[in-house]
């Protein structure tokens, strides 16, 4: 079973001065899978995402996103990828609807197409009733859903979600996880989700990569990683145990 790798890196490295934030990293993500990107703070997850987007230039190695070089074809890559940064910010004086139409203008989506997409997406993320409310009045959960909506407006093939459930209440987090799952199932979107919350990742990820100190110490499907623990596999281990095993090793 060989599927297309939509994201591939080879020896991708990032150094700041003497400090190596991402050690030579080689991994790939298949098309239409949900990839959980795990690791403690400062493990190099965000830096890796930024390099894949072409927003940060790597110190070494190469990356391919949808067959494109993020540095050279940065505009096409940004068209392909929707990126939701950690703690995304908004222009507080715009309404939800205005924010979305600003994003769609930036993506050069034609006027009538944009109107259709906005109303559909507002419905999808459940913000229809408050579409003309100013973003500064939004709760955190609402903001996070608006953030997702802003990313979806360009109808990306790949989603990069950096800590999307951080600071959300359990209900908000569950709704967000459901939304991501639906997007993946209905549209075949590839999703890279970085998170500390192992429970959330375990719920939706097809496979995970664990980063520690700039290295990917483990990479595989849930079952494979569970098998690593006792050598036999088959038994379902919670992700937390797998994670802690590597955490202790490093």
């Amino acid at each position: 079973m060989t599927r297309n790798s939509i994201i591939e890196t080879k020896d991708l490295t990032k150094r700041y001065g003497r400090n190596t934030v991402v050690k030579p990293l080689t991994f790939s993500v298949e098309e239409s899978e949900i990839f959980g990107f795990l690791g403690p703070n400062g493990a190099g997850k965000t830096t890796t995402l930024l390099m894949l987007l072409g927003l940060t230039s790597p110190s070494g190695g190469t990356a391919r996103v949808g067959g494109l070089d993020p540095l050279r074809d940065s505009l096409q890559v940004k068209q392909l990828v929707g990126y939701l940064p950690e703690n995304v910010g908004f222009y507080g004086d715009l309404t939800a609807h205005e924010s979305l139409s600003f994003m769609s203008e930036l993506n050069a989506i034609p006027e009538n197409d944009s109107r259709r997409r906005i109303s559909k997406i507002l419905d999808e993320v459940g913000l229809v009733e408050i579409e003309s409310k100013k973003v500064s009045e939004f709760s955190r959960g609402m903001k996070q859903r608006l953030g997702i909506a802003e990313v979806l407006i360009k109808e990306p093939r790949i989603l990069f979600l950096d800590e999307p459930t951080l600071g959300l209440d359990p209900d908000g987090a569950r709704r967000l996880i459901d939304l991501v799952r639906n997007l993946n199932r209905d549209r075949g979107m590839t999703v890279l989700i970085s998170s500390h919350n192992l429970g959330h990742v375990q719920q939706i990820a097809d496979s995970v990569g664990i980063m520690m100190g700039g290295e990917m110490v483990a990479r595989g499907t849930m079952q494979e990683l569970a098998g690593d623990i006792d050598g036999a596999g088959g038994k379902q281990y919670p992700l937390e145990e797998i994670y802690m095993k590597y955490f202790r090793e490093v």
């Binding site: 927003l55 910010g89 507080g92």
Partner: protein
């Protein structure tokens, strides 16, 4: 190009709807009203005595009424408009964590900084144009002097120079908004540089010139030393954009003034020249101001170019 246009539109909208802009505009409009009103009243009373006056219309802008002229006002406080429009251009986006979102969209990164600069210039242009038009209309109503083609031409050149002058300060403020992550720091830095360049440089130039070529009135100083002293002082003063702006606008808005190039004249010659001087033609005035305008535009471009490069190499994480 799409990205540039979209960000430009949004920035312009932000400028015009912000309280900051409204307050600033109200303040500037108020001061210009007062100055032009004073000058107009003053002129109306004295115009008959000044039988030989040429270009009375331009005097609306150049004459110092009770306080200061419009030109002086723009020279002094114009920089504040530029600074206020730019000092938080980039770091506000950073602190609101919207910059990363912006550059993650399929637009070129330079579109962001270009659009912010252009939107600032557009705002400055609209602001200055409306102020000049208001003063002109005011003057027309009170003075009843109709401007000729040459007055209008000179006014347009003055307007252009003023936009360049304010754009320099805008460029400087945008540069600071890139260099300093903290909004308050960049605001403070802009004001500090404004005070330094506008007020301190003149003093410093004098001190340096005195130290290099001392001129003592009690002793007989050689002519050569006096000339060198004045030349050095002038050269150093031109580091200040305000001095440049003064030089550039004075000949444009006041056709009677010539270049301030050093020439010595006795009291009799001064009286003679003020009596029998004819105004310069527009072409000649342009020749006089051209070097200063060039330096001013050059400084603006350098400021913007540095911001551009800094923004392109800077890493954006938030």
């Amino acid at each position: 190009m799409n990205g540039l246009y979209v960000v430009f539109k949004k920035e312009l909208r932000d400028h015009f709807t912000s309280y900051r802009f409204v307050i600033l505009f109200a303040l500037i409009a108020m001061v210009s009203f007062i100055t032009s009103y004073m000058v107009a009243i003053d002129l109306r009373e004295n115009l008959e005595e000044l039988a030989t006056v040429k270009f009375p219309f331009l005097m609306l802008f150049s004459a110092t009424g009770t306080l200061f002229s419009t030109v002086q006002f723009v020279a002094f406080f114009g920089p504040l408009i530029g600074l206020v429009l730019g000092f938080d251009a980039i770091n506000r986006e950073r602190s609101h964590r919207t910059l990363i979102k912006l550059v993650a969209q399929p637009i070129y990164r330079d579109a962001v900084v270009n659009a912010k600069f252009l939107a600032g210039v557009a705002t400055i242009t609209i602001m200055l144009a409306s102020i000049i038009l208001v003063i002109a209309g005011f003057g027309l109503a009170i003075l009843g002097v109709v401007p000729g083609a040459e007055d209008i031409l000179r006014l347009i050149v003055f307007f252009f120079i003023s936009v360049c002058y304010l754009s320099f300060w805008l460029g400087l403020a945008i540069l600071f908004s890139l260099l300093f992550r903290n909004i308050a720091t960049s605001a403070l830095a802009s004001v500090a540089v404004w005070i330094f360049l506008s007020f301190f440089v003149g003093l410093a130039a004098e001190a340096v010139a005195e130290a290099a070529f001392p001129v003592d009135s009690r002793k007989d100083t050689g002519m050569e030393t006096i000339i060198k002293n004045i030349q050095l002082k002038r050269a150093l003063t031109l580091c200040s954009p305000m001095a440049l702006y003064d030089e550039a606008t004075s000949a444009m808005i006041n056709p009677m003034s010539r270049s301030k190039k050093l020439f010595m004249s006795g009291p009799l010659e001064q009286i003679l020249s003020s009596r029998f001087q004819n105004p310069l033609s527009v072409g000649q005035s342009l020749l006089v101001v051209f070097p200063y305008v060039t330096i001013l535009i050059g400084m603006t471009l350098v400021c913007f170019a540095v911001s551009y490069v800094v923004f392109l190499v800077q890493e954006i994480r938030v």
